[in-house]
Each structure stands twice: as structure tokens, then as C-alpha cells.
């Protein structure tokens, strides 16, 4: 039983939700057997993704009416701090952040950017909820121990869960006819992203 089992967006996504929140990569993070090259690949590609998500969220915050905007703006601050954290993590490991963007990561980033400009704010709220809820669910399934404990805690701690809950309230309170299609689109990209980090 996950915390989103009663979310209409999650329920209507069907098996996509499971596919987006479980992966061989995550299992290997959980039991500490992840090959270092897979972790490095994930770190660099996720940095590119976080950069695109920052653009998406900035545009989404601007399009969202004042009464719904606060969680998005607070989330933008956290996202920027996360970019600093990614940069520090990659420096420690001697990784280059200007490495080419993988085609799977690029597809996800393009999906977010085009949606940010083309779609109305209720759809953008569904997209943001999808991105963060699937991430929370994916990392929350892992024991917060082992060599990757810092990473697991980062996306499964109560403050992050509280932020995702606020996004859920906004997304479900502002449904649009395209919300489900875009929510499902996020989950399909999440699924492909996890496969890419594992398989290269």
C-alpha cells in the first residue's frame, strides 16, 4: 500500500505507476550492489534533468495563479539547492557535467519544456506532481542504509513527502482534460530514464 494508492491520477495510470517507481537500478541502490559506472551515469544525467525541471518549474510558477503558487516557488529554491548539491557530488567523483545528454534524458527534458510553454497551468501541476510523486515512491521503497543512504534519504524524507503532498492537492484540485495524458507521459519517461541509467 503506497501513500498515493487513492490518487485518481495514479489509479488511472494503471501499470505505468509501478513501472515508473520500481527498477533494477533502484534494487541495486537498495542492496548496495550498483556498479559505480551506473551510479555516475545516473548522477550526470539526473543533473541535466534537474536543470530542465528548473526551467519547467520557473515557467509553471509564472503561469500558475497566485493562490496556488507558493509550493512551486518554494520547490524552485529547493531545486536550485539540489543543483548545487549535484555539482558538489560530481566534483567529488571527478565527473564531467558537460558530458553529452543521453537521448532518453533529452526526450524527457524536451517533453517538460514543450509542456511548460504549450499547456495550461492545471496540466503543469499534474506534470510536477507526477515527477515528484514517482520519485518519492521510487526512493521510499528502499531501506535508508548502505553506501547510498544519503541519496535515499534525500528523496524519501518527511519534508520532501510533505512537499509532494502539497503538489498532489494542487494537481487533483485543478484537473484538466489533458492532466491524465501528461501524468502518464511523465511516468513513461520516468520508466525509460531508470532503464537508461541501468543499461546505458
Amino acid at each position: 500500500m503506497s501513500r498515493f494508492d487513492d490518487s485518481p491520477l495514479v489509479l488511472r495510470a494503471g501499470r505505468l505507476w509501478q513501472e515508473a517507481t520500481t527498477a533494477a537500478f533502484l534494487d541495486a541502490i537498495g542492496d548496495g550492489t550498483l556498479p559505480p559506472e551506473a551510479f555516475s551515469r545516473w548522477l550526470v544525467q539526473d543533473y541535466h534533468f534537474a536543470d530542465a525541471l528548473t526551467s519547467f518549474q520557473g515557467i509553471a510558477a509564472g503561469k500558475t495563479p497566485r493562490q496556488f503558487r507558493k509550493p512551486l516557488i518554494a520547490g524552485l529554491g529547493a531545486l536550485d539547492a539540489e543543483m548545487d548539491w549535484f555539482e558538489a557530488q560530481t566534483r567529488v567523483r571527478g565527473l564531467k557535467l558537460n558530458a553529452p545528454v543521453h537521448e532518453i534524458c533529452r526526450r524527457y527534458c524536451d517533453f517538460l519544456i514543450q509542456a511548460a510553454y504549450s499547456e495550461p497551468y492545471p496540466v503543469l501541476l499534474a506534470v510536477l506532481f507526477g515527477v515528484e510523486a514517482s520519485y518519492l515512491a521510487a526512493w521510499s521503497g528502499l531501506p535508508p542504509t548502505g553506501p547510498y543512504a544519503e541519496f535515499i534519504d534525500r528523496w524519501s524524507n518527511p519534508r520532501f513527502a510533505e512537499y509532494v503532498e502539497s503538489l498532489r492537492v494542487l494537481a487533483e484540485g485543478n484537473l484538466h482534460e489533458s492532466s491524465q495524458r501528461y501524468f502518464d507521459g511523465v511516468l513513461a519517461h520516468e520508466r525509460d530514464f531508470w532503464s537508461m541509467t541501468w543499461e546505458g
Binding site: 526526450r107 524536451d110 514543450q114 510553454y117 504549450s118
Partner: protein, 207 residues
């Protein structure tokens, strides 16, 4: 000229498109009609986005000459869409019901993300491969197409002088609007890869 530099840098991808089984099937007329039906529906979806990307580039243009060129190129896409509507009627395809394949959606997401979010020169670089490639494919196929090829109208359209003039017009816009930067080169190369993926998707979905 930048357009020629970028074409030469990516000519192997263009040749891969020319030798792709989908294109070989169009060339000798043996393409599975189901694959062509898929192509018509998916390409109509793609061209709808392509027209919007021209419109976005036009809205962001800095001078009247560029604005006029982009509007004329947009009109060229609308004529191409009429050709697809003709095919759709003949082949009884409901274009409005067609959902894009993932490879096609990746390409249209890329075009729209670039047109909205990146520099106008990058948008033109993202759009040129489609036009130059189709001009090239049409010309190459016209050299060998035999009588009775059911896809002759497609070959005639893309090898014709009207389409070739649009290619030249877009390439001159690329030369005037874009610099030889990594971002421009990357947009051009990625669009060319999207073209190759597009042809593959048509066969994968009808296999």
C-alpha cells in the same frame, strides 16, 4: 556556408535514411501499404508541429524579411499537409484519431521545446534537416523510380522544383540566422537522428 557544413557533417545519417528499408520500399514500390498508411498519419501529426515551429520562429523574428520567409515556409507545410489529407482520403485514414508513436513525439517535443525555449538560430537548425533530407531523398529516388510505382506522387513532390525552392529558402535563413556553435550543430544532428528514428518507427509499428 553553414548549411553545407552541417549537411556534410551529417551526410552519413542522411545516407542511412536513403538506404533505410522504409525508403528502399518507397523507391522500388514494394513498401507494405500498412507502413505507408502509418507514415501518412504520423507525418501529418509531425507536420502539424512543424508548422507551429515555423509560426513560433516567425513570431520571434527580428526583421520583416525573415518574417516573410518564415510565413512562406509555413505555407509550404500547409500545402504538404493538403497532400497528406489527399492520401488520407484515398487510403481511408482518420488523421484526427492518430496518436503519435513515441519516436515521433520525441521529435515534435524537441522541435517545440527548441522553438519556444532556445535561440531562433537553433530552431532553424532543428528544422532544416527535415527539409534538406526530404529534398535529397526525393531527388535520389527520382533517379531510379520505375513506371507504375504506387508511391510516385511522394517522389514527385519531394524531387519537384517547388519543394527544392523551399529547401533553398530555409537553408539561406539558416546561414543568416545561425552561427556555427555547438548548440546549432547539436540541434541539426539531433534532428537528423530523429528523422532516421522516424522511418524505423514506421516499420516497427507495422511489423
Amino acid at each position: 556556408m553553414l548549411h553545407e557544413i552541417l549537411w556534410q557533417q551529417n551526410v552519413r545519417l542522411a545516407e542511412a535514411c536513403l538506404h533505410h528499408p522504409f525508403m528502399r520500399g518507397l523507391a522500388d514500390g514494394t513498401l507494405d501499404p500498412e507502413a505507408f498508411r502509418s507514415y501518412v498519419a504520423q507525418d501529418a501529426f509531425f507536420l502539424n508541429t512543424f508548422a507551429r515551429a515555423y509560426a513560433l520562429a516567425a513570431a520571434r523574428s527580428q526583421d520583416m524579411e525573415t518574417l516573410i520567409s518564415l510565413c512562406e515556409l509555413l505555407n509550404g507545410v500547409l500545402r504538404e499537409l493538403q497532400l497528406h489529407a489527399g492520401y488520407a482520403k484515398e487510403l481511408k485514414i482518420e488523421l484526427a484519431r492518430a496518436r503519435p508513436y513515441r519516436a515521433v513525439e520525441a521529435y515534435t517535443d524537441f522541435l517545440l521545446a527548441t522553438a519556444w525555449h532556445r535561440e531562433p538560430g537553433e530552431t532553424i537548425a532543428a528544422m532544416t534537416p527535415c527539409m534538406r533530407l526530404y529534398g535529397y531523398l526525393g531527388t535520389e529516388l527520382a533517379k531510379t523510380a520505375g513506371a507504375g510505382n504506387p508511391y510516385q506522387q511522394w517522389i514527385t513532390t519531394y524531387s519537384g522544383s517547388e519543394f527544392q525552392a523551399l529547401v533553398t529558402r530555409l537553408e539561406s535563413l539558416l546561414d543568416s540566422m545561425a552561427e556555427d556553435t555547438p548548440a546549432v550543430g547539436d540541434a541539426y544532428a539531433y534532428a537528423m537522428r530523429c528523422e532516421l528514428n522516424f522511418f524505423s518507427a514506421m516499420l516497427e509499428h507495422t511489423a
